[in-house]
């Protein structure tokens, strides 16, 4: 599996291939904790937030919300404790980038979190990691221990006034706990149900205190933003999508892996055919899900010769989303009806059950898919599926409902044949 940068100097992946990359020593030999020192010694919290704003860094967890802006929502004057929570729940099908950042460069995350903690005045911070990533939690705990011993974490960091702690926390198998408010419920020891927004976590999050939830990749981008300055970082990418982005590439390419690309990389076809070394066994490209299971599926026609720029705007223009950057490539052997059924089963399994449309809707959708798959398809089922999706989309309590609907809507729209085949092929 490939891991590295294409079309730019490796930034977040700078250290991942080094020997013992996860140790404090290697981290420091490669400029580790310098950004933190700069911040603590020469910058005010607002300076930090401004740099992040200038960097045009957008949340890498999926929503793509401007990070600097999110940080600036935290009320400075609030007497309450403040928290930085790292979202390492990485459960979006097709996404595995955070895993390698945690595995190979844990100190980068710690440094990023501490800078955020300084900017927001947080004394206590948590890394919420999905329970299946137990070995990564052990790695993080080890790194945190090192950092504490080295004076980079805990009381009077680097001999300054600033004190802040970071702890790991484990999930226990629930995709919904990646959703930031559900994550906070889970971190509070509750069932992982999402919460009502507003109030947003920045105002009332963990223990009803101001809280910033950021993805691993978002936070690990911060030290470099400080080092090179917000503008420089932004210029690596495009005006609206600053910096570089990690793409988790899986499926029928010859070289899957974690690719760091500059935002606005040109173009998706080149990326698949050259950087990922094309489709396995000389097969033809059929479909791509570019941003994790929750985004619209793209057909080869949407990509080949369409010069799809790989950033937020570019991919939206091409009819999908960057999402989490879980880039799933499918060749001609794939039956998109089957692949959509597979994802729908995922959403049914992961629906938290809180709200009616998602709980009952995904259950119903799966039942229809199963019936059709077993030869019980009826011509009107396509319409039924679309209508059920329409009844879920925009009506569920949290975006998981939408995420369940979009793959189906786009699949039926872009691969009608794969569905028709099953529906009219039936004896009903």
């Amino acid at each position: 599996m490939f891991i590295g940068a294409i079309g730019c100097e490796p930034l977040q992946l700078r250290r991942v291939l080094l020997e013992n990359s996860r140790t404090l020593d290697v981290y420091r030999q490669n400029g580790g904790y310098e950004a933190l020192r700069t911040v603590l010694t020469s910058m005010s919290p607002d300076d930090v937030i401004n740099e992040v704003k200038k960097s045009a860094l957008r949340g890498r967890g999926g929503a793509g919300f401007p990070t600097g802006m999110k940080w600036s929502f935290v009320p400075k004057d609030s007497p309450k404790a403040k928290y930085v929570v790292c979202n390492a729940d990485e459960s979006e099908p097709g996404t595995f980038k955070d895993r390698y950042l945690l595995e190979r460069d844990p100190h980068l995350l710690i440094e990023g979190m501490l800078i955020a903690a300084y900017a927001l005045g947080a004394k206590l911070n948590y890394i919420y990691t999905r329970g299946e990533y137990r070995y990564l939690i052990d790695i993080m705990d080890e790194a945190l221990k090192e950092a504490r011993a080295g004076g980079f974490l805990g009381a009077n960091i680097l001999g300054t006034e600033f004190s802040s702690e970071v702890y790991t926390h484990t999930g226990a198998g629930a995709y919904i706990c990646g959703e930031e408010t559900a994550l906070l419920s889970s971190l509070e020891g509750m069932r992982g149900h999402p919460r009502m927004k507003p109030p947003f976590p920045a105002i009332s999050g963990l223990y009803a205190c101001p809280t910033v939830v950021n993805n691993v990749e978002t936070l690990t981008a911060v030290p470099d933003i400080i080092k090179m300055g917000g503008e420089a970082y932004q210029k690596l990418g495009t005006e609206k999508s600053g910096g570089t982005k990690l793409w988790s590439v899986s499926g029928h390419v010859n070289r899957p892996g974690v690719y760091e690309l500059p935002m606005g990389y040109d173009d998706m076809e080149k990326f698949i055919m050259e950087d990922c070394q094309g489709i396995r066994d000389g097969k033809k490209l059929k479909a791509v899900i570019p941003g994790g299971s929750s985004v619209y599926i793209m057909s080869a026609e949407d990509i080949i010769g369409k010069d799809v720029r790989m950033d937020y705007e570019g991919i939206v223009a091409a009819g999908s989303m960057v999402g989490s950057g879980g880039f799933i490539v499918m060749d001609e052997t794939v039956d998109v009806f089957e692949s959509t059924k597979n994802l729908t089963e995922f959403y049914k399994h992961e629906s938290c059950g809180w709200c009616t449309p998602c709980r009952e809707g995904t259950d119903w959708l799966v039942k229809v898919f199963k019936r059709v798959a077993n030869g019980g398809g009826r011509p009107e089922d396509a319409q039924l599926l679309l209508d059920l999706c329409d009844n879920i989309e925009g009506k569920s309590f949290c975006p998981l409902g939408d995420a369940a609907a979009w793959p189906i809507q786009s699949a039926i729209k872009r691969f009608p044949e794969d569905f028709r085949k099953h529906l009219t092929g039936s004896v009903v």
Binding site: G94, R99, G131, H169, A172, V249, P256, S293, G326, M330
Partner: protein, 176 residues
């Protein structure tokens, strides 16, 4: 009086919440204290503690649940509602080696069905079942974040990636 009682016929054997409360060695208690110390609010430690109880007792058995309720000063229902929400927590016994095969899209198209088929025929059980000797349980689970190295499964907490049937044989044979 109208509702004249009739007997309730025994059907299934229900779970019995005995009064028994699990107890652990000082080392484990210390480990638990370390987790509790991480949070300003005790209840936050519920998941870490559940994993410990599960590790020590195989699953969240009634005495283990009673222990958690006591340790976290919560009601038994609070433990139950949380334990049943998360797919990695078991309120029923599971095999010594829990083989969790990822069945989500990337693994599916990269050969999960072949792996599942192989594992199941090798162990002679279906997904969701446990071998008679209680050694293996096979489950099909959702994306484990190894899509780039599909197909894969997780046994206990260990990842096994880029699986082939040959590799599966080696792995399963190595397990005692």
């Amino acid at each position: 009086m109208s509702a004249q009682p009739i007997n309730i016929q025994p059907r299934s054997q229900p779970v019995d919440i005995g009064r028994e409360v699990a107890s652990f060695s000082p080392e484990i208690e210390a480990e638990i204290d370390r987790h509790l110390a991480k949070y300003p609010v005790t209840r936050s430690a519920i998941l870490p503690l559940m994993f410990i109880v599960q590790r020590e007792r195989g699953y969240l058995d009634p005495p283990g649940v009673a222990y958690l309720a006591k340790r976290l000063s919560l009601r038994i229902t609070d433990i139950w509602e949380v334990a049943t929400f998360y797919s990695m927590l078991h309120t029923e016994p599971v095999g010594k080696h829990h083989i969790q095969i990822c069945k989500t899209l990337s693994c599916k198209i990269m050969g999960e069905p072949k792996i599942t088929e192989h594992v199941c025929s090798k162990l002679g059980i279906k997904p969701g079942e446990t071998t008679a000797d209680g050694k293996f349980t096979v489950s099909l689970v959702e994306c484990l974040g190894s899509c780039g190295t599909a197909p894969m499964f997780q046994i206990g907490f260990d990842y096994y990636e880029d699986l082939t049937t040959a590799k599966v044989d080696r792995i399963l044979d190595s397990l005692t």
